[in-house]
Each structure stands twice: as structure tokens, then as C-alpha cells.
């Protein structure tokens, strides 16, 4: 791959891969899990790329690579035009600050012994030389911005409901004015009306600061609402990438179609045809030959078992499928 990144691309991923070496038991041999396999995309300022896919398909792994919490096993990650693997430590530190993450699990990411105020001020304490007073003012302003009551400032995480904690996590990620926010299931723990507020808030912040979002979500009604582009991944492989329009009005990959069909509709009278996926979720220890989706695909042909399809431009999006 030698595509020249677009000048406005904040993030460019080229054939990103990540493997984990795991041992399945005390005396069993080591095995590798291919959590992410050759994923490429680019993300521009002010845009939202949604990442959707099966549990265990590598979405959080991608999030950890992009935020430089983990290093890719292979492939390149280019942030603001700089290759993070080749960058010197000082540059890497600076790049790291520009990309923040809101974790899937807000319980694990908040320190139980830190008050909300301390949690929000910590990034400022570590990364800036702001005075204590300015830090507190910034923390309180951010709390108001994300809809947290002022009296929460001195409280500890265990005193909050799930939804309140998620807003704290979002507020904390925003403290350093990042350019790109990786949002790992950011609204799935939120109630509907707060979710609407957070989605509106994310839209406002995006417009205000030109933030780019890598939005990991399994909730397609939210993805449909917030994203510009969508990447569907399956067992570590990107199987379809396209605009929101293309994916929702005319999904091509059989997995994308199954995903859309399985999304519950908030209308009890609604009768829909479900595409029931046959077969089992494949084991990441022994990924299927050929197309990773073929064992569950109703449209699979002989070639699918043998050759792995690569992403190709078809019907106005990229799709990796022999059949469509």
C-alpha cells in the first residue's frame, strides 16, 4: 500500500494487524489469536467512522492500537502525517495526547479512590502546567458541558449509576482537547434520553473542535444516526467499508445484511424477516479457511472456502465477498 494520505486525514491505518499469543492451559502449547488482520482506513478531521462487528471481532483491539495503548504486530499507523512506529519518543507522547479513548467498560477505567474532580483533573496534572485553580475550573466546566451536576465534583465513582459513570469517562477523555476520540461502545450503557444528549453533545463537540471519532458500537440505530462512514469487521477482517448511505440503504456483504436484519426495532408491531445466521461463531484460534464468514454464510460458494476475498470497489463501497 502506498496511498498518499489525504492532507486532512488525522488518522491513516494501513494493513494494521495484531496477534495475541495465549496459552490455553497450564500444559498446553502457546497459540496465537489473530485479533486484527490487515485493516486499512483513513479518518478525516470532523468525521465519524463507525466500527461495527461481532463480539470478539477485534473492534476494541483496533481502538487500543489507534490510541497507542498497544503496538501493531504489523502494518502502519499514521497520525497527523506521522508514522507512530518510527516517531521519536517525544513526538509519540505528543501524538498520544491527541488521541483519547473512552473505554467500553467505564467501571474499570475510573479509579475507585479518585473523586470525579480528581479523575477529570488528572490528565491536566500529568500533561499540562495549569494551576490547581485552573484545573478545577476546567474540570467543572467540562462537567457542566457533559451534563454532570456540580455537587458530583467531590464524589467517588461507586456513587454513580452506569450512565453517570459513562459521562464522567467521556468528560475525562475530552480534558486534553484531543483531535481524535476513540469511543468504544460509548453510549451502550446510557439511557435513551441521556444517550440523545450525549449524541447531540458529541455532534456539537465535533463541530466545535473538528474532532474525528472512531465510533465502536453494536447499536446500529446509533451508528446510523452518528456516522459518516461505516466499517464492518468480522473475525479481524474488514468485510465492508462505505458511506452510511451505502451501508444502510444497500448493504452488500451477507454479514452486513444479517447484522442489519438482527437489529431490534423499537416498534412492537413491527414484523420483520430475520436472517438467521447458521453455524457457530468461528473460533479465533482456528479461523476458517478462505472467507472468514463462509461457515455461516447462506450464499457461500465453493471458492469462498478456499480463497480469502479482498476488499474491492463494488456498488460504491468496498466489500470483500466473492458472491456479491
Amino acid at each position: 500500500m502506498n496511498a498518499i494520505p489525504k492532507p486532512s486525514a488525522i488518522l491513516e491505518a494501513r494493513a494494521l494487524s495484531r496477534q495475541y499469543i495465549v496459552r490455553r492451559g497450564m500444559f498446553s502449547p502457546y497459540a496465537s489469536v489473530r485479533a486484527l488482520e490487515g485493516v486499512s482506513f483513513s479518518l478525516e478531521a470532523g468525521k465519524t467512522l463507525a466500527v461495527v462487528g461481532e463480539s470478539g471481532s477485534g473492534k476494541s483491539t483496533l481502538g487500543r492500537l489507534v490510541t497507542m495503548i498497544e503496538t501493531p504486530s504489523s502494518g502502519a499507523l499514521i497520525i497527523n502525517g506521522k508514522d507512530v512506529v518510527e516517531a521519536d519518543p517525544a513526538t509519540r507522547e505528543r501524538l498520544r495526547r491527541e488521541i483519547q479513548i473512552v473505554f467500553q467498560n467505564p467501571y474499570g477505567s475510573l479509579n475507585p479512590r479518585q473523586t470525579i474532580g480528581m479523575a477529570l483533573e488528572e490528565p491536566l496534572l500529568v500533561n499540562t502546567d495549569m494551576s490547581a485553580r485552573d484545573r478545577e475550573a476546567a474540570a467543572r466546566a467540562m462537567m457542566a458541558r457533559v451534563g454532570l451536576r456540580p455537587e458530583f465534583y467531590g464524589r467517588y465513582p461507586h456513587m454513580f449509576s452506569g450512565g453517570q459513570r459513562q459521562r464522567i469517562a467521556i468528560a475525562r477523555a475530552l480534558m486534553l482537547n484531543p483531535k481524535l476520540l476513540v469511543l468504544d461502545e460509548p453510549v451502550s450503557a446510557l439511557d435513551v434520553s441521556i444517550r440523545a444528549q450525549v449524541l447531540n453533545l458529541l455532534k456539537d463537540l465535533q463541530e466545535e473542535f473538528g474532532l474525528a471519532y472512531l465510533f465502536i458500537s453494536h447499536d446500529l440505530s446509533v451508528v446510523k444516526h452518528i456516522s459518516d462512514d461505516i466499517m464492518v469487521i468480522y473475525l479481524g477482517h474488514a468485510v465492508e467499508i462505505g458511506s452510511r448511505e451505502a451501508i444502510f440503504t444497500n448493504p452488500q456483504h451477507p454479514y452486513t445484511r444479517a447484522l442489519l436484519a438482527a437489529t431490534p426495532v423499537a416498534d412492537p408491531g413491527h414484523k420483520k424477516e430475520r436472517i438467521i445466521l447458521s453455524g457457530e461463531l468461528p473460533s479465533p484460534f482456528e479461523p476458517p479457511s478462505g472467507c472468514p464468514f463462509h461457515p455461516r454464510c447462506a450464499q457461500a460458494v465453493a471458492q469462498c472456502k478456499v480463497d480469502a476475498p479482498v476488499l474491492e470497489q463494488k456498488s460504491g463501497r468496498s466489500v470483500a465477498c466473492w458472491v456479491v
Binding site: 435513551v192 453494536h218 446510523k224
Partner: protein, 329 residues
């Protein structure tokens, strides 16, 4: 006879800032073989109410209720040892935070096996068979290998399914599922919900589903309770609730769904849920309500009749419009 009958449940936390009533006079009745959904604002006491039923709240919580019956037994007078025999066996719960409910020091296989040993007295071989069966049921591939996995080696969705397998291990009569599918992608979610619904059909298990996913509610639940700020503000069968919500909060909730949105900004309910220090004198929703009148700000509203979804409101809505005080009486 109802499987679970909770009357006038209140939970008050002793906090540094004083007393905080997280659950305020809630009634929850669950029939055998029923799917009840509890929805509502974050922090409205859905989890706390269910943790109170399970007896799992910290010592800072004071729990009171007029009645708290499960399967004919009075949970309030039961000795702790007897209560522990029910909890995790006949009544089990899938917790909201799967990661922190799994013990990081033990393998998945060991943790599921523990429940089987404690409650059912299964021997090692039986435990292994049942554990594998459970992991397979919840769609975990390669269950034999996952037995040896530690929680940190699993993805979010996988730990959630392990939690579900644990909750189902003793074939409970009542399963309380607190956000069971937040970390699951939709195809697995559909599979898990199908599993829960088929268990209900086959074993008569009742299900209390706490969720923010109105799609899941629409497709799974028979009845819905709507909570706001610790109170129960509406309850009705699922179809009429979606068609014509009577409480203004329920109305706002459904309007905020992205799938019902007509513009890029979603309609939201202005303001915030009242906190510990600004509880309104009248209706708790009045400060955020588009239809609030003078009485709403001064006097707590009565419960409307069943035809009005028992809406806790002076002027319940019909087709989105308030129908006047007469209807509430």
C-alpha cells in the same frame, strides 16, 4: 400466585451529604413465565431496586417494603443462610458490569463450577459437562478451551455471555438481567434473547429485563415498567406503551430514539434528573416537563388508572397531548 411480589419498596442510602432515597415506593410484580422490562432514566433506581430484592446492597442502604415475597417466601424475614440458598439458585441476576462481577483470579470454568457445586452439589465430572453445555448455549465457541481462560482474556461480549451462563447454571425460576446485552453485537444479542425466551417457554422461567434498548423491549417484553428518579411513573403492556405513552417522561423517552428522529439533532428531555439536594416538592418530572402546570410544581401527582398506564401525572397524555385533571383522578 405471583412469583415475585414487591410492594412499596424504598431504598435510602446514607451518604456523606445526608440521606438519599434512590428507590421510592416501587411495586414490582412478576408472574411465572412472564417477561417484564424495567426502563427509565439512568440513576432512576432500576439496579438498586433489583439489588435490594437480591439482598446485595451495601450496609449504607436502608431497605423498606410492605411486602417482599418470592415464590411464597417472605424475603424480609428469611434468615441470611436461607436467603443465600435462593439467591443464585432460584433467583439469579446478570449484573450490569460483567467485567467487575467476574473474579479476575479464577478461570471461567472454575467460576461457573462453583455455583454448580454450592447450589446443586454436582461432582467434578457433572460440573464439567454442565459448564460446557452452558457455554455452548450462550454461543461461546470452543467452550472446552475457554474453560481455562481468565476473565481478562475475554472480550467484553464474551465476559457478558460467561455471566449469563453463570446466571443460568442452576436453572433459576426468576432471572433478573440488568443490561444483559450492552456489550453484545446484534447477532449474538438476538441469539441470547432467543435463548432466554425459549428458556421461559420451556421451563416457565420469568425474566426481568432492565434495559435501555427500546428495540429489545419492543421485541421481548410483555409488560413494561417505566421508572424516573426512583419512582414508577408508568406501567403497561408493551404494545400500548409504544403506541401511546401516557406519562410525559415516557413520551420524551420514545421521542429521543434515533430511529424515530427526523433531524440530525435528537429531541432530548431538557435539564437533568433531580439530585439529592433539589428534589422538587411536587411531581419529580415537573421541572423538565413541557406540560407542567402550577399544581405539578407544588403537589405530588396521583396515579392514573390502568387505562392511562397508571401514569404518575396530573395530566396524563393521550396521543401526546394532556387530557386535563379529570383523567388523572
Amino acid at each position: 400466585m405471583a412469583l415475585l411480589e414487591i410492594r412499596n419498596l424504598s431504598v435510602t442510602f446514607r451518604t456523606r451529604g445526608g440521606l438519599f432515597k434512590a428507590v421510592d415506593g416501587v411495586d414490582i410484580v412478576v408472574e411465572p413465565n412472564e417477561v417484564l422490562a424495567i426502563v427509565g432514566e439512568s440513576g432512576s433506581g432500576k439496579s438498586v431496586a433489583m439489588l435490594a430484592v437480591m439482598g446485595l446492597l451495601p450496609w449504607t442502604a436502608d431497605v423498606t417494603a410492605d411486602a417482599m415475597l418470592f415464590d411464597g417466601q417472605d424475603l424480609q424475614t428469611l434468615k441470611p443462610a436461607e436467603r443465600r440458598k435462593i439467591i443464585g439458585k432460584d433467583m439469579s441476576m446478570i449484573f450490569q458490569e460483567p467485567m467487575s462481577s467476574l473474579n479476575p483470579c479464577f478461570t471461567v470454568g472454575f467460576q461457573i463450577g462453583e455455583a454448580l457445586k454450592t447450589h446443586l452439589g454436582m461432582d467434578k465430572a457433572q460440573r464439567k459437562v454442565r459448564t460446557l453445555e452452558l457455554l455452548d448455549q450462550v454461543g461461546i465457541t470452543d467452550p472446552e478451551r475457554r474453560l481455562a481462560a481468565f476473565p481478562h482474556q475475554l472480550s467484553g461480549g464474551m465476559s457478558q455471555r460467561v455471566m449469563i451462563a453463570m446466571a443460568l447454571s442452576c436453572r433459576p425460576k426468576l432471572l433478573i438481567a440488568d443490561e444483559p446485552s450492552t456489550a453484545l453485537d446484534v447477532t449474538i444479542q438476538a441469539q441470547i434473547l432467543d435463548l432466554l425466551v425459549s428458556l421461559k417457554r420451556e421451563t416457565g422461567m420469568a425474566l426481568v429485563l432492565i434495559t435501555h434498548d427500546m428495540g429489545v423491549v419492543a421485541e421481548t417484553a410483555e409488560r413494561v415498567i417505566v421508572q424516573y428518579a426512583g419512582r414508577q411513573v408508568e406501567q403497561s403492556a408493551t404494545i400500548p406503551l409504544f403506541a401511546d405513552p401516557h406519562h410525559p417522561y415516557t413520551h420524551g423517552l420514545l421521542a429521543a430514539l434515533p430511529e424515530r428522529a427526523t433531524s440530525s439533532r435528537l429531541p432530548t428531555i431538557p435539564g437533568m434528573v433531580p439530585g439529592q439536594f433539589n428534589r422538587p416538592a411536587g411531581c419529580l418530572f415537573a421541572p423538565r416537563c413541557a406540560h407542567a402546570s402550577a399544581i405539578c410544581h407544588t403537589t405530588p401527582p396521583p396515579k392514573a388508572g390502568a387505562a392511562m398506564g397508571e401514569a404518575l401525572c396530573w395530566t396524563p397524555l393521550v396521543n401526546g397531548m394532556p387530557v386535563g385533571k379529570g383523567a388523572a383522578a
